[in-house]
Symmetry: C2
Subunit: 432 residues, 2 copies
């Protein structure tokens, strides 16, 4: 039996996917039953490293998603449109869909999965989060027995590379970003990565799967790494922390399973926490549940080969099902996505976390007392207050709090910033 | 629809499994369609923490595996017999099987999977390796697009706990073992764990899945950790290494995919290698493949809750398939195990690895020359030779080699041990 694939897009991931499909020897034997039927691209004349017969290539993507010969449509063009429309048309034509498109799933997942469930087709997306790392499939198929409590991920390789380089070489953000752009680890317009938007898309998808509820990506609190300075990285190290851009999702109260905290921000992570030693462009996702405890998935979060590995594994999963059971009236509930209730994302002011704050102050003996009093007034209890040194005639003081309600901490900071003894507050970073 | 489970065994993992099945709220909704129909135990009168209706319990395990009401038989009694016979009878009766029994699968996997393929039933075993860590399922379902090159695992929590404690506290093996026994991390008879037999079973299973070939567990070269001393752990640390009991499986030559190196032994691991920082009873499995590169799965390698999480996930996977496609004539090739060719395990003398050796010698200036000459004669090239210090009037010298053929290294050691200047060779440990 041969199963036919329609590939939309032949960029980095598309080429990697085609390479695997065209060279099955030494891989799982099922690959030998999978064939590229059509490939849709924007331009037929663009020079390409991958060699495909001319009659396979087309610029008519709509024709692919409705082609009766095709079993699985693989969407690798990225972006919102025409990706969304093509996925919906493929579903309407009864095709199973594989996509690596986190943006479209994070925004239109509800529409896409509602359509897929009606049409009784699968929409798989392993490559959308963590590149090659198996995490979506394990979350759906291997962790369903658990009550998931928390997900903490380093899910953006670009920012993890930048923070790692800043930490290792003491180089400033702007210079490391420029280097990363030269090396191809960051885009010319780095906004999506460095401002945390890509991570927000990914934690939206993971949250929805882990907690069985839909949510809106706009509700995810999102801060990037532009404000992280090498000074903070150094002070964090001295205090036993690394700084990582974390995507975090948790259910703080199991009596209210619909209320979730979902956020992306730079975070101080204790050096003995599993995620602290994940460096460079690698990604890692830590999942906590009952009764499993902590499990972590680590690997390459991007790149042609790793991402294609995830795309092809999804294709193989669908083909494995088609081969064994053919078209059925009921989707496998572990592989489909049937939840419909929405989660309520808790406002960031209500979330509870620890904070690191760095203060430049004029008068040390008095100011520590003032800080303490002011924090105390808003129920912010302090774990440590350390005077790091002097910058000119200003003393540099670093504070780490215990768990506090974010709104209270912000109020305290507002009041502290108006104290006479305070020159400025160069940074506030959350602590895991 | 309700799917009915027959549980064989109500020990640690059996109780954990029953607990999850009896308390589905907050977990995946599919669990609500799974019911414990019968539980087979050795003694009905034994006091148990888990409460099950009396009519569910039986001592007649054979009646469970042939009960026409039961869809999935879950074998959690462990050991070889009657586990093997019960699994085979369950398969013959058309039941799908879930097992956590690495020993029975490592030894009788060929017989069991041949029977399962004939009867068109699944035999899933996520809990057999890595406790709660999803690794079997990801290997089968998420990494099939790759040519797997190497698997390196810390797959035995007991020995990893012992080595971690020896390293952290500088306490000798015997004392740490006694403590581990007191804490329940080691059995009264610790042979299976500390001599590497449990790890050998697990790497046999992983190898078979990763490389698509059957193999005999007796062919796996297996050394335990009894010979590892705190002295070696200290010297390894000074040289930038941790000592871990690793289970390693690799295909050294892709032109000969049937020839595999499969071995379990204490190993010096560079401190910046991902597995070096896996401590305590945790397990981690690193998989290398093309095009994915390195992925690692980390988590609790044992314990009632984590192992039960894996068992229940397997049950859910089978139920998901039954619900969507019912009984079919073709098994999903990703979930079944259809390979039949055997791998040839390369004799340990032919394997190529680095070595660490510690020598007690009488005469330092001369002896380093003698060591060098002798190693050179057998093509063993040295990376470093360090005189650590003195024990009485004997000098202690530590040698690390480059990659060498093990047979050559052994010949060199044989000759060196006969040198006049050599007092003794307290330890030889492989280096990753």
């Amino acid at each position: 039996m041969t199963f036919k694939i329609g590939l939309l897009g032949l960029g980095t991931v598309g080429s990697g996917t085609a390479e695997i499909l065209l060279d099955p020897s030494g891989r799982h034997p099922l690959l030998q039953e999978i064939e590229i039927e059509r490939v849709g691209v924007r331009s037929l004349s663009k020079p390409r490293t991958i060699k495909l017969p001319q009659e396979v290539m087309t610029t008519d993507l709509e024709a692919i998603v409705t082609d009766p010969e095709i079993d699985v449509v693989v969407e690798l063009i990225g972006g919102l449109e025409p990706a969304r429309s093509l996925i919906l048309k493929a579903i309407a034509a009864g095709k199973h869909v594989v996509t690596a498109n986190k943006a479209v799933i994070a925004r239109y997942g509800d529409e896409i999965y509602t359509a897929a469930n009606q049409a009784k087709v699968y929409v798989l997306l392993e490559a959308a989060v963590g590149g090659g790392i198996p995490v979506i499939e394990p979350l759906k198929q291997s962790l369903g027995a658990n009550r998931i409590q928390r997900i903490i991920g380093i899910v953006n390789g670009t920012t993890n590379y930048i923070l790692t380089q800043m930490s290792a070489a003491g180089t400033d953000f702007d210079r490391v970003l420029a280097e990363a752009q030269k090396l191809g680890y960051a885009e010319a317009d780095p906004t999506t990565d460095v401002d945390g938007l890509d991570a927000a898309d990914k934690i939206t998808i993971l949250t929805s799967l882990a907690f069985g509820r839909r949510l809106k990506v706009e509700d995810v609190h999102c801060e990037g790494i532009r404000q992280v300075s090498t000074a903070d990285i150094n002070y964090a190290q001295r205090l036993g922390f690394a700084i990582k851009l974390l995507a975090i999702s948790q259910c703080p109260n199991k009596e209210e399973p619909e209320k979730l905290q979902v956020r992306v921000h730079p975070t101080l992570v204790s050096q003995d926490f599993p995620l602290a030693s994940i460096n460079g462009v690698y990604n890692a996702i830590l999942i906590e549940g009952e009764p499993i405890g902590q499990v972590m998935f680590f690997g390459p979060g991007a790149g042609s080969g790793p991402t294609a590995s995830a795309v092809v594994s999804d294709i193989m999963n669908i083909v494995g099902i088609l081969k064994s059971s053919g078209k059925t009236e009921t989707l496998d509930p572990l592989l489909s996505c049937s939840h419909q209730d929405y989660a309520t994302v808790i406002p960031i002011e209500e979330s509870v976390t620890r904070f690191y704050g760095r203060f430049l102050t004029k008068d040390i003996p008095g100011v520590i007392g003032h800080l303490g009093t002011c924090f105390g007034k808003y129920n912010v209890s302090l774990e440590s207050v350390v005077q790091i040194g002097f910058i000119g005639d200003l003393a540099e003081i670093v504070v780490v709090t215990h768990d506090v309600r974010e709104g209270n901490f912000r109020q305290a900071i507002e009041e502290i910033s108006n104290l006479d003894a305070i020159d400025s507050i160069p940074s506030i970073i959350r602590v895991l």
